[in-house]
């Protein structure tokens, strides 16, 4: 059977002859014999595509997936939003999928223009003038935002609201091992960041807050801005792009950098990746912007055209002095998001956010009526909220899964105990529940009933 290698034996002969070689082995004569692999790789023999597909069916059968097996009430940074067939059909066009980074602009206007449109949409969502062509995921956007702000202020001290997604904080902490940035977490009380509790000390370069935060609570961005101002620090807002459809734009409220996770914009749950790091900033910071940036220009004939620009920031030119090491990013997800946002339009995006809020509040009311399930915070929320359950959160979720529900995300699965976001000891009993616009009233009703039973 075939693989993907076109060469026939006869052709290989001819080519070897042309090279004056007597066998394929000789191509590797430069490799010291002692290093050459004797027995071949420790892998099985190859299979055919349909055999491999059958293996994947077997893997798939051992997962409980959303839609097929479970009704999804989980969020925590990954949401079950509507992705219409038209978005899939366009985003999977092979010209987008199998293209490389647009190095030859003359034959890459398709991707370049799509990115330009994506940048515009992200900038408008953020309320800031510039957005890049994407980063890996929300966490990497956070890391790059911190790096940008530290670079701009020359101060390595970072105040991170405990409302920022625990995984993102963890990634920032990991990468601070290299940069040496000093990350300090500011606690939440009743779901909202308490800037007055921020640790004192050295001057702070960066203040980071999430809107909404990982417990679903809406933060007071003005307060965050004010706190940043007391330090002369830059403000980074980790904003959810669906919520941004109805919330005041962080840029208008004073954010210098707005980041986010773009999975909600047309990308499947995908077991966590590939997702989409969003990144927007003020005009002042554009020369520190990480990643690729597409700009508009004209060609020699005066026709409008697009090209990657300000490349001097990038690693392939600036090398060790680059603002970031990111090269391959998540362009296909960015193109997808541009298509999804065009499909939604202004009213569609607002409608999605509104319906999420309606569903979440409708569920929350029912859960509150059960009394045993207590909200973690009283702050306003949109799509997501956290509750305390009598039983251990993990137990509750396991029981709900048996009833066909992915009932939320246990706080203990995201963060290890007392990280400042929850009351001490609350973590093991906290579930973060999300309701998207795809959840029907019947699903919510059934879930509330099941939750009531499972929570005991």
């Amino acid at each position: 059977m075939a693989d993907y290698l076109p060469h026939t034996d006869a052709e290989i002969e001819t080519m070897l002859e042309f090279l004056g070689l007597s066998g394929l082995d000789e191509l590797f004569e430069v490799v010291p014999a002692a290093l050459r692999l004797a027995g071949g790789l420790d892998l099985d023999e190859g299979l055919t595509e349909p055999d491999v597909a059958a293996e994947f069916e077997a893997f798939a059968a051992r997962n409980r997936s959303v839609g097929r097996d479970l009704v999804c009430f989980a969020g925590a940074g990954a949401y079950d939003h509507e992705v219409p067939a038209v978005v899939r059909a366009l985003a999977t066009r092979s010209e987008f999928v199998t293209a490389y980074t647009p190095y030859q602009a003359e034959v890459a206007q398709g991707v370049l223009q799509a990115i330009f449109e994506f940048q515009t949409m992200v900038a408008r969502l953020a309320g800031l003038p510039v957005a890049n062509a994407s980063l890996y995921d929300g966490a990497s956007s956070l890391v790059e935002a911190i790096n940008l702000c530290v670079g701009a202020t020359g101060r390595q001290r970072v105040l991170l609201s405990a409302g920022v997604h625990p995984h993102w904080r963890a990634v920032a902490q990991t990468l601070a091992r290299g940069t040496g940035h000093d990350l300090e977490v500011v606690a939440l009380i009743d779901g909202v960041t308490q800037w007055q509790l921020a640790p004192r000390g050295e001057p702070v370069g960066v203040v980071v807050v999430a809107q909404p935060n990982w417990l679903g609570c809406l933060e007071d961005l003005a307060a965050a801005r004010a706190h940043a101002d007391t330090h002369g620090a830059l403000l980074v807002v980790a904003a959810d792009p669906i919520a941004a459809g109805v919330l005041r734009a962080p840029g208008e409220l004073g954010a210098d950098v707005v980041i986010g996770e773009g999975q909600s914009l047309g990308t499947k749950l995908s077991f966590g990746g590939p997702y989409l790091g969003l990144f927007a900033c003020s005009r002042d910071q554009v020369r520190r912007l990480p990643g690729r940036l597409v700009g508009e220009t004209v060609d020699v004939a005066g026709t409008r055209a697009y090209v990657t620009t300000l490349r001097a920031r990038e690693q392939d030119i600036r090398r060790e002095k680059a603002t970031s090491n990111v090269c391959t990013n998540q362009t296909l997800m960015a193109v997808t998001a541009a298509i999804q946002l065009s499909w939604l339009g202004p009213d569609g995006l607002a409608e999605v956010a509104t319906r999420c809020a309606q569903g979440a509040h409708y569920l929350a009311e029912q859960l509150e009526a059960l009394h045993s399930i207590v909200p973690v915070a009283s702050a306003p929320y949109l799509r997501e909220f956290a509750v305390q359950t009598p039983a251990l959160a993990e137990t509750v979720l396991a029981r709900l899964a048996d009833e066909g529900f992915l009932g939320g995300v246990a706080a203990s699965a995201l963060t290890e105990g007392d990280d400042g976001s929850l009351a001490p000891g609350a973590c093991e009993h906290t579930i973060v529940v999300a309701v998207t616009e795809r959840r029907t009233r019947a699903e919510i009703d059934a879930f509330a009933t099941a939750f009531g039973k499972a929570a005991r």
Partner: protein, 507 residues
Amino acid sequence: MSAAPGGRASSAPLLGRDAEPTVFELSVTGRSAAQLRTTGVPATLLERLVSASYLRREPVALPEVSERDLVGHFTRLSHRQFSVDLGMYPLGSCTMKYNPKAFDEIAAMPGIADVHPATPAPLTQGWLALLCEIERELCAVTGMHAATLQPAAGAAGELTGLLLMRAFHAANGETRTKVLIPDSAHGTNPASVTLGGYEVVTIPSDARGLVDVDALRAALDRDVAGIMLTNPNTLGLFEEEIDRIAAAVHEVGGLLYYDGANLNAILGVVRPGDMGFDIVHLNLHKTFATPHGGGGPGAGPVAVSERLAEFLPGPAPCRTADNQFEWRMPPRSIGRVHSWHGNALVLARAHAYLRVHGRDGLARVAERAVLNANWLRVRLHDSYPAAFDRPCMHEVVLTAAELKRTTGVRALDVAKRLLEEGFHAPTVYFPLVVDEALMVEPTETESPQTLAALADALERIARGATDDPDAAHEAPRSTPVRRLDEARAARHLVATEDDRDPVEPRG
């Protein structure tokens, strides 16, 4: 009715050469495409759920288009985009091979793609098993002991590897400050070194295009945390003295980092682990044929030798004693490097690729890739000599220096002319150490016929450069747009629709 017409296809290369309006220019107030589920959830006014002080007064200024115009626009944009599926993409260092379609379907299976990343492990045993398999396979291919699948791309893998290096030395009570990098290295390497908190020390190439081992030795001391190498290097040449290099670096207590972007050349022939490397990242979007998506997503897993395994990022998928799977944090983990578990669907595709090829198939991949590159090298010898005239591995760096000297036609011109000939251009002006570099990587999925056609085209361009150098300077003439004013793009930044100059450009 001043919006642009969505049904006019004159920007499609099939018909014309106009600019495609942006989706914002197609927008008409009140038009829409979205259709949402009917849910029956009470439609309470948002203002009654959330205080108006949080809410925006105007919706976000997104485009308002019909589904028909949406489809027309993005379909036309797709026709303005070169891709592997249209033709050969001999971009050196990028390994643009054919991406099997079967894996698109595999990665879209509901039981694979529709799994929430926070689903408890007992309900995602299939995914955990799959990830463990991939880790095992990548270790087998690289000759390493354990791997993390979290890094989302090669550069993320590099940085992860450098943090592992740092953690390793720290655990030994050492703070080392420098990392060595050859001058031919990819730009991500030095950038990652900086972000890893190290200082870059550049090691020159010698006359053979290989690491200058003497210079290397001279740079080695106990401040050196390690060295980043690719082998074959970015000149497409195998570092023959890799064992001496490894010994020297190890001698001073340094670690060897392998930039796996060039792994395609040596699959099944020699393993980084056997060459003495301690840390290896792999670019699944290169070697393992996961499509590049116009710039991403990729995946950059990092495999390490036994002594580094305990530092790997986590949580990592693990097999338990009773053949179940769970997430575990390695004992001295540097921590998490991705929001979730890495670019899972990219990993899944790579696994499918590895399964189809298997042990023998992977060796065939390397053989054909190297055969193709050498054939081109020899065939093009007279018109575009290789920068270093010796057998290459999976790619070859040619130089147009002589062409430029005699005709004024530069590597860039050759690249643009090649577009007219029906091929994507090679990588140009990289690696930086070669003058007028044309870095050609044919990959194993291109046929001898295609190689010959590419060679014919390149020779035609070289011959034409003498007769009619202007043709080369003016190329490409048959593409939807021609050479761009790149300076203007940078000088007068228009990075969003809102930056647009009110003066309308032509087209």
